[in-house]
C-alpha cells in the first residue's frame, strides 16, 4: 500500500488537470479583450503566473540553501536544487512570453526596462546556481548556496522595480484591479500552474534525496568490500 506522502503528487496533478482545461477555454473563449492592448493582453494570463512562480521558487531555493549552509542538511540541498530548476523554467517562461507580449503591444520585444533586466538577472543567477550544482566539485556547494541566497534577495528588487524606476512595464497593482471576468480567468490558470509546479517540485526533490542516499549506500558497500 502506498504511503500518504506518495499520494500527494498524483493528487496535485489530478487537481490541476481540470483547472488547466478550464483556464485555457476561459482565456481563449470567454475572456474579453483589454481595451487598449486588445487580444495581446491575454498573454498576461500565463506571463504573470510564470513570473510569480519564478520568484516564489527563487525564494524557496534561497531559504533552503540558507538552511543547507547552516545545518548541512541533505534534504534542504535537494529542496534548493529542485526549487531552482522549477524557478529556471518559470524564468525562461516569463522571459520568452514577455518579449512576445512586448512585440505585440510595444512594437519591440525588449526595452531594457528595470523589471525585464532584474528578472533576466534572477534567471541568470539561477542558471549559474544550477551549473555549479550539476558540474561543480563538492566544495562548490557552498558557493552555489550563496548564489541561491543572492537570487532570493533579488526577488524584492524585481517586485519593486516598477515602483523604484520609471518603466514601461505594467505596475504591480494590475492584478488587484482586474475586472471580475478577467479575475475569474487569472486565478484558475495560476492555481493550475502552481499545482503542476509543486507536483514536479516534489518529484524532483524526492529524486535528489534518493540519489544522494543511493550514492551513500554505494560508498558504504564499497567500504564494506574494502
Amino acid at each position: 500500500m502506498k504511503r500518504k506522502s506518495e499520494l500527494v503528487v498524483p493528487l496535485l496533478f489530478l487537481a490541476a488537470a481540470p483547472l488547466v482545461v478550464y483556464s485555457v477555454q476561459r482565456v481563449f473563449l470567454h475572456t474579453p479583450n483589454e481595451r487598449t492592448m486588445g487580444t495581446a493582453f491575454k498573454i498576461f494570463f500565463f506571463h504573470v503566473p510564470m513570473g510569480w512562480l519564478c520568484m516564489l521558487m527563487a525564494l524557496i531555493s534561497g531559504i533552503a540553501a540558507y538552511v543547507q549552509l547552516r545545518r548541512r542538511s541533505r534534504t534542504a540541498g535537494a529542496v534548493a536544487l529542485a526549487a531552482a530548476e522549477i524557478g529556471f523554467l518559470g524564468g525562461l517562461g516569463v522571459l520568452l512570453t514577455g518579449p512576445i507580449w512586448g512585440h505585440a503591444t510595444w512594437g519591440t520585444p525588449w526595452t531594457g526596462d528595470a523589471r525585464q533586466v532584474t528578472t533576466a538577472l534572477l534567471w541568470l543567477v539561477i542558471a549559474a546556481y544550477l551549473l555549479l550544482r550539476h558540474f561543480g566539485q563538492h566544495a562548490s556547494e557552498r558557493l552555489a548556496a550563496a548564489l541561491a541566497i543572492f537570487g532570493a534577495v533579488n526577488v524584492p528588487l524585481i517586485y519593486y522595480a516598477v515602483k523604484l524606476w520609471k518603466t514601461t512595464h505594467p505596475t504591480t497593482g494590475v492584478v488587484a484591479k482586474l475586472p471580475p471576468e478577467m479575475w475569474a480567468t487569472f486565478w484558475p490558470g495560476l492555481s493550475a500552474l502552481l499545482l503542476v509546479s509543486f507536483g514536479l517540485f516534489a518529484i524532483r526533490a524526492r529524486q535528489l534525496v534518493l540519489a544522494s542516499e543511493l550514492d551513500e549506500a554505494y560508498v558504504r558497500l564499497e567500504d564494506s568490500r574494502a
Binding site: G38, I43, I86, L89
Partner: protein, 104 residues
C-alpha cells in the same frame, strides 16, 4: 382699382406646403460619408489582421510554456527510470554480498 388676381396668386404661393419627401428630389444623407466608410473599413481590416496576429502570439506563448513543462516532465521521468535501475543494481549487489558471492 387693384387687380385681384395677382394678389390671390401670390398669397396662394406663399401658403403653399413644401413638397413631400418622396417627391424624387435630392436629399443629403445624414451620417457617415463615403470617405468615412472607406476609412472605417480599412481600419476594421487592420484591426482584424492585428487580432489574428495577436492570437498567433498568444498561441505561441502558451505553446512554449507547456512545451517547457512537458520537456521537464520527460526529464524527470527518464531520471526516475535511471534511479530505479540504480536501486535494482544496488539490491542485486547487496544480495550477492549477503550470499557471499563473487565480489565484483
Amino acid at each position: 382699382m387693384t387687380p385681384i388676381a395677382p394678389v390671390l396668386i401670390t398669397g396662394l404661393a406663399f401658403h403653399a406646403e413644401p413638397p413631400p419627401a418622396d417627391a424624387g428630389e435630392y436629399e443629403p444623407a445624414v451620417g457617415t460619408s463615403r470617405e468615412e466608410k472607406e476609412i472605417l473599413a480599412t481600419l476594421e481590416d487592420k484591426a482584424a489582421a492585428k487580432t489574428a496576429s495577436d492570437y498567433q502570439h498568444i498561441v505561441w506563448a502558451y505553446g512554449i510554456l507547456w512545451a517547457l513543462f512537458a520537456a521537464y516532465g520527460l526529464f524527470l521521468w527518464r531520471r526516475s527510470a535511471r534511479l530505479r535501475a540504480d536501486v535494482d543494481a544496488l539490491r542485486q549487489a547487496l544480495g550477492s554480498e549477503a550470499r557471499g558471492g563473487p565480489r565484483a
